[in-house]
Amino acid sequence: MGRIVLEQVTKSFGETQVIPPLDLTIEDGEFAVFVGPSGCGKSTLLRLIAGLEDTTSGKVLIDDEDMTSVSPSKRGLAMVFQSYALYPHMTVRKNIAFPMRMAGMSEEEQNKRIEAAAASLNLTDYLDRKPGQLSGGQRQRVAIGRAIVRDPSAFLFDEPLSNLDAALRVGMRLEITEMHERMQTTMIYVTHDQVEAMTMANKIVVLQAGVIEQVGSPLELYHKPRNKFVAGFIGSPKMNLIEGAEANKHGAETIGIRPEHVTASKTSGLWQGTVGVAEHLGSDTFVHVHGIEGCDPMTVRAAGDATFKHGEEIFLTPDETQLHKFDTAGLRIE
């Protein structure tokens, strides 16, 4: 169980309102990801749910119970902090045992759960180490272990992978996804990483300045961004936004086309430009094209073996079916 509902929640620090009135429902068992630019209120929202911050107004319901003024320890949620917040002087075993010890669980039960958690997180060999002797990924797993032994009704993750190196991130990403599939517990996950958001979420919540811009499944957001902000924010490299005559042709103020939906050719195409920097990644080549009206530079994805050179002429053809149209208010036009 773990259905979380925010009703007209607001939060102000002193005079500044960081979260204007906000409604949000996260269903039981969902994997919700909060994304948004730095400072938009993702962490604040998470902390409001956890009870680490008091709401300025509005209600927080967990499983339909009003938890707004219940202390964090009584909400039955578990949180994994960006900095892990492990207890540095305790061994891994003691770290994981801590919430159970606080709950007065029997030694036996504690040990059983520790063993189980350690096994599932591949930590069995490290149970007697202290956090200082662990690698980033291992610490991350200990933090998760400490969270799962409590059978929380929901997990809250605040950018848990941002301290890890690329290889580890990929691994941990898969592990958390698998864990979710196995436990089917509600998870709320804050990240600023595109790939994490797209691959892990059932539901992505895009925030800007405390306001929810769009809620939806990853592909919904990718294919049908509600406005220019979401369009630009989801997808990497960013969607190319084209203004002016070209957009008006399509009856819109702005049109958008993702780099992967433009075909580049040396010979012919709809638009003509010159090659700027061409970034060869091996698997793909990202070509930055200058001279296209209303969008400079336009980024285009070409094959890994593409041979566009700086200064060459290039012809681009968008996939018309993948065109996004936005009105003067920046909202999507269907």
Partner: protein
Amino acid sequence: MAIVAQSSKYGQFSRTLLAWIVGLLFFFPIFWLVLTSFKTDADAVKPEFLFFFTPTLENYTNMTDNYDYWRFATNSVITSVFATIFALAVGIPCAYSMAFNPTRATKDVLMWMLSTKMLPAAAVLYPMTFLTKSLGLFDTHFMVILVLCLINLPIVIWMLFTYFKEIPKEIIEAGQMDGVNTWGEIKEILIPLAWGGIASTALLCFIFCWNEAYWTVRLTTTDAATLSKLIEGNRAPEGLFFGRLSAVSAAAVGPIIVLGWFCQKQLVQGLSFGAVK
């Protein structure tokens, strides 16, 4: 924060009250000392005049009449200031060297330095007296400064060391890449960067120098005698003495307490000895 908000008004109030009581209790002896210094010797021991009495400056005028308070105070300032400067002058390069160019022995050297502070002064009183006399340095500012500098050097070096350790090594290395020599590293980078730490180290060293009472009493007669010596001469004057004693004491510790108050913030850092990590 939520946690604060949840602790009740009552808890907050009782915590404040308790903190004030503890603070006042700790300060009380000093308050008492100062209060007593304004009483006549006779009033000082009379229960009926505990707090209500006719204040008098008699004790202070007595002190300045009979003793050359200002000479003692000047000597205290001179010796403490110069000892602190010398200690920093020797300590900064040493701590720099240990923090940024450590060898395997660095830790042991540092600990050895600290252990020299455990050497009981009384054990070397006679050797020291012989030495200073034969060098003709007895009762000179130089000797007092030297001794104060040396007894505080281990603490100074340790404190500076813990500070310097906090400076990212890369900044020093960036300096090397930018073409500075060793002296430049210390002067251009280390000192400005660790300025706060150096200041608080200096402050603590100054306090310890000011309060030092073994050597300053025993290696001086008049020329270099500090306030410690004034206290030594007055800590049991003949007769009824609480008032007089308090005045001398207050005059000796007053300057340093006031200095301490003003530099409180700075000192807090200094005292951490790298304990904050």
